[in-house]
Symmetry: C2
Subunit: 338 residues, 2 copies
Amino acid sequence: MAKTKATIYNVAMRADVSLATVSRTLNNPEKVKKETREKVLKVIEELGYKPNAFARGLASRRSTSVAVMVPDMTRSSIAEMVNGIAIEARKYNYSLILYVLKDEYEEESEMLKEVVASQADGILYMNDEINEQQYQMLNKIKEDYTIPIILANTLYPYENKLTTVSIDYYKAGYEITKELIEEGRKNIYMLTTARKYMVNDLKESGYLKAIDEANLEPHIYRTSGDISINTVHFDELYLEAGKKLDGVVAVRDSIAVSFINSMISKGRKVPKDISVFGFQNTKYASLSRPRLSCIDIPITDIGVKAMSLLKQEIDGNISKQKYFELPHSIIHRDTTKK
Amino acid sequence: MAKTKATIYNVAMRADVSLATVSRTLNNPEKVKKETREKVLKVIEELGYKPNAFARGLASRRSTSVAVMVPDMTRSSIAEMVNGIAIEARKYNYSLILYVLKDEYEEESEMLKEVVASQADGILYMNDEINEQQYQMLNKIKEDYTIPIILANTLYPYENKLTTVSIDYYKAGYEITKELIEEGRKNIYMLTTARKYMVNDLKESGYLKAIDEANLEPHIYRTSGDISINTVHFDELYLEAGKKLDGVVAVRDSIAVSFINSMISKGRKVPKDISVFGFQNTKYASLSRPRLSCIDIPITDIGVKAMSLLKQEIDGNISKQKYFELPHSIIHRDTTKK
DNA sequence: CTGTTAGCGCCTTCAA
DNA sequence: TTGAAGGCGCTAACAG
């Protein structure tokens, strides 16, 4: 038998109070006399009453929901961040509305309009490919509709209008490159993506800095994120660089692992002949053989922090600090000497 | 300057029609004269008007949103399914409200109440650990509130009240076990999870069937999904099974890969001494060395299909068919002989 | 084909 | 501390 959802009115009737009182016990309990409150809560419990989210949203102009915008759920870093967001959101009883971005700017613009229409209380935006146009659009939305926006693991280094949570990719790139140099490596390659990712550019800058300081020759090699493609690329790379190549910093664990596989199949030894560092500390890193040394990024924590900052901003506590950096660390496993 | 969101009323004024007409051009365009419609649409465009989702939901009692309930975003199968759901949902302009389940039954029950309160038009539920209690609760929600529910990659073999999209895990388990038998393997182990997952039980049944048919001895070995733990387990397993062990069917790619790594470190050759099959065809399978043979599960398609079925049910097209099976396939790579 | 009108369920002043 | 009443922005009959 179809149960009709209890309304605030039913609760009020049964508790013998006005619906205003019911509303108050839910939203401003301190303004209701203790006995009345308890009586009302009891009825709410009995009826399994939950306020209709639409009616509440319409009347209060708050939704207790936030929009989560991500480029691609299948990337494990994104999924883990969303997990962190979900954990934190749960604490505040916030709902998450998920938007998976398409590549087209138009689509994204359309989605943002939807987000505004959905009355989301805030936006968590994560997209490591963010460009000028997207950044400005986000900022416009924020200003036009005064809706808080937090960028999670999404860096746009040329401006700082939007609150950002990330790690220091530049420093991380620098550090691991430096370690390879200290190992005595002379021909260190950076393996990065052909597509333009802001965070990868930063890793690259860090790499270049270290290489430059050591007076070595920089080698940037761009490949695809796709395994079947980059395997072919690595064959070419080997032809070109040959046995001189003795160190690699890859912008993703998966790229590092497929590079290692490619080299081993050519008879090169890791880390005897070549040392390799990856980025992220995904499961790939521990499942690979030899197990991958890499930068560990606290990706879940980034999600948690971003959500908690968003909550603060929604509550009106806007800090002056725009950039929040979480600590990374270097994990030494079996593809480096240390 | 804070733009105040345009309302239907603003649009009506400016287009010099009643608000009912604006509503119609949005929801029943065929009921509006072409010229009027175009005039209205033009104004909508100019004002960047998007109907307030709350008001619309409240008035229409439809939300054009669905609840997506998942156990854990960090599992790549879950993330990929959500991706499929997002792709399909976009076609219908549906929003996704994401709920990450906790282990506690109470929590889940609370979440379902929230889903009902949120007026979601339907529920996509995925949880391969589903138990009796959870299944019955879902069914109760469905009946009490007549809200469509689809189980995606979530099997509860003892009942069939809820529409389900999955693959035939039993058959898949049977097939790969049979292949190992045909290779001449005699001591084939099933590596499964210590925790109870419905789908893993089905894989196990398929394995047992094939083993039984061949008059072989069944060996079920339960381990953790956690890499650091199962490595230790595999050492124990090796002590116990020793060199007789010559075939493995693992319920997850990651388990298969860490098993392989463990055996290789002990000097065993894959697939010369041991053949190994995994399940899922994740990236781990192609990044491992040797590359893992496994069952390919069309996980994105399961998400797509589930969402499309849900949309159908929401639209009132409830088919009698309760169970929808998608085809799986066997991927032969380098850890088996074929 | 278009306009008028009555809610949808809740929050929030304003009075009492 | 409580109740009455208006309205949030939109949809959906019902008239015309």
